[in-house]
């Protein structure tokens, strides 16, 4: 009896193992074809895909860390913010239903977009830079941004050079983390999954300052952390945000770019922009 139970267990386990192996195999197949497509393209053939590739038919699946007000944040269980409103409009233009995934880890988002099996587009205030461009393509920049160094008001730091050799918090994989590492000598960089966790570390005195995007910092010091935190220096980096799409999906990229242009032309873009950033000149979307 005991023996029988055990053999059933063995069979079951083997089955599970075989199944998972098969799944891994399946996961590998589209990658392989993607590679072929890329090869064909590289070879100069006009085998570029002519159709939009979507993870789910009729849906535009968006990946984001959902922790970057006013761009994107969780309003209860639902995302909200500038990027969310913008994506809904883009969804309308493309005739696709916009679906946000549960908040993702920022530092693995670009890789997820590149793999193309989980989400169609990454919209998480991505600064367009060369390292990311190696992995994904970016749509037309939709926002001009800068970095800001934020610290406790009570510490009374005045600029970046006050922070030399100190512990600086930042969200893992962000341009803010890179900037701090490159520009403030001797610091210990403490990476966090979310910007809000990095801010909590500063509030607790566990880090001296946090470096992240200026528009978000401005919102934070004016609203959520008013009186506690301040921007000690706004760093002009002139970076620009773009939506990330897979390199194998140029049709989607072109369609989103067209939708952005249309939204700019009919005034919807500026309307949404000014709702979240009153008094700021909307970008030209060129």
């Amino acid at each position: 009896m005991l023996l029988k139970k055990k053999s059933i267990l063995v069979v079951l386990t083997s089955l599970i193992m075989a199944l998972s192996l098969a799944l891994i195999g399946c996961g590998g197949t589209p990658e392989a074809t993607d590679g072929d497509a890329a090869d064909a393209q590289a070879a100069g053939g006009d085998a570029a895909p002519t159709e939009m590739i979507l993870v789910k038919e009729g849906k535009l699946i968006v990946g984001s860390d959902c922790d970057y007000p006013p761009f994107i944040f969780m309003d209860g269980a639902k995302p909200a913010g500038f990027e969310y409103d913008l994506m809904l409009e883009i969804g309308k233009k493309l005739d696709l239903e916009v679906e946000y995934l549960a908040p993702q880890n920022f530092d693995s988002l670009i890789a997820s977009v590149a793999a193309g099996s989980k989400m169609d587009i990454g919209v998480s205030s991505f600064t367009i830079n060369d390292e990311r461009k190696k992995l994904v393509n970016f749509c037309t920049p939709y926002f001009d941004s800068n970095q800001a160094i934020v610290s406790l008001k009570s510490k009374a730091y005045t600029n970046a050079s006050d922070l030399e050799g100190m512990v600086i918090a930042a969200q893992s994989g962000t341009t803010g983390a890179d900037w701090a590492q490159e520009n403030i000598p001797g610091i210990t960089l403490k990476p966090f999954n979310q910007t809000s966790e990095a801010i909590a570390a500063v509030l607790a005195g566990d880090a001296e300052a946090v470096v992240y995007d200026e528009p978000v910092a401005a919102e934070h010091v004016a609203e959520q952390y008013a009186g506690e935190l301040e921007i000690i220096q706004s760093v002009p980096t002139g970076e620009q945000y773009g939506f990330a799409v897979s390199k194998d999906n140029p049709v989607l990229e072109a369609a989103v770019n067209q939708a952005l242009l249309d939204l700019k032309a009919d005034g919807t873009f500026d309307l949404i922009f000014l709702k979240y950033f009153p008094g700021v000149t909307p970008p030209s979307l060129r």
Binding site: A169, G173, K190, P191, A204, Q233, S234
Partner: protein, 497 residues
Amino acid sequence: MKRSTTAKAWRKPLLTLLAFAVVLSFCVQLATSYSAEALTVTTTTAKSNQASGNSVVGGQPTRVTWEAKVDEGEAVSSVTLTFPAGSSFADNANVQATILYQEDPRRAAQRIEVEQSYELDGESVVITFGELIETDYVIRVEVHNVALPALGGEYVVGGSYVDENGAIQTLADSPTITVIGTTLVDRIITWLDGQKWVESWNSVLFLRIFFNPQLIVAAFPNLFFGWLRSLGLVLLGFPLAIPFGLGFAFLRMSRLGILRFLASIYVNVIRGTPLFLQMYIVIIGIQIAGASFNSYFLGVIVLAVNSSAYLAEIFRAGIQSIHKGQFEASASLGMNGVQTMFSVIIPQTVRRVIPTATSEFILLYKDTALLAAVGVMEMMMFAKSMAAVSGNMTPYVVAACYYLVVTLPLTKVIANFEKKLAAADGTTSEPPAKKKKRVGLFSTSESNAPDAPDALGALGAPNPPGAPDTSDALNAPSNKSTQNVKKAQNAKKEGGE
């Protein structure tokens, strides 16, 4: 003034000469400082291109950022940046200039679109703007894929610019960039980059993503320090948990109901909630509450608190597994309760709980990885940041190796210990009918127990009586002497994970 007149005679022309020199040097300084002020270079930095650290390595492509502000009454139409001798541009080198306007260092800068073109020329970059860049604008130039001199040292970026009149002015030297010579690791990586087999190896997606040779080489030295930190967490936390665990074990066996009750609440709450949640409550919670503690210290505390609850159960089971006769014998020798406990019972218990306690140590060591999510610097965090930068999973695989370096030998130690225990307990008289073996599905007991079953055993047949089951040492050791201990451990599995 008591000097001779001859001395006075040559002193006068000397003085005039000196005065002239002073005035001249002042003029020169004024002139140079004037030209230096026209375009003030504020920043020159290079992005770290070191796979195993945060330094800038010479001879390998990096991204150099140069920033200057146009001063009062000046305008610039073109900038030439000259990199130090020995620098070179890679084939895919490119230059991006951004023009920014910032009123106040605390206010956001505004990006201005300006037409631009650039040209690479030897060790220089010439950037020409479509219009004049005027006073107070910041010119930010990013040069991608430029290699700084292979010999380490402090380097500056010099150059010149063309002002509104078309005159060429020399740029003041930039702040220095510290470049280090290539390290052994970097040299190995560069060597690997050029190998044919590495290229074909990396052309397979699976191998590239999980077993990238360059990243393996980079990750081992880099993760080593993370590994030390992880090890430190558990080496501090676990010993701290032992006295508390023992204390709670005593409390749970106390004659006073209230103490038993309190101890069981502690043990059950800690074992009934995920460690991950406890980390959030303690580390993030304490931070938000405004208390300022080192997060590494808090990490040790959480691990110790968590482990003390499990150890309490392990110790209690161990103590209760000692035969009643031992207590009676001690009493008959005139020993009091404390004496009995510390000189008779505990020494025997120690031997019995060592395998389970070691398992607990292994579990705790593996659980240190969770701390990465709450901002404690340990190996997982090191691997995570490497993976984030490279977009590759190889650092995690290397981290796995570092975890295994500790867990595999310890598993072996447990197995050996159990074997010894089983041999020692072979002399005790316990009815063999009550023996109940827990057999792992994929038994590895062949190598550990010489008299263990062969392939049949591996297929799930019950072990012959007497053979210690060492199959699943990571989860639970099971032999007759540690039956209770095993129960405690199993309870942990259900409650805690």
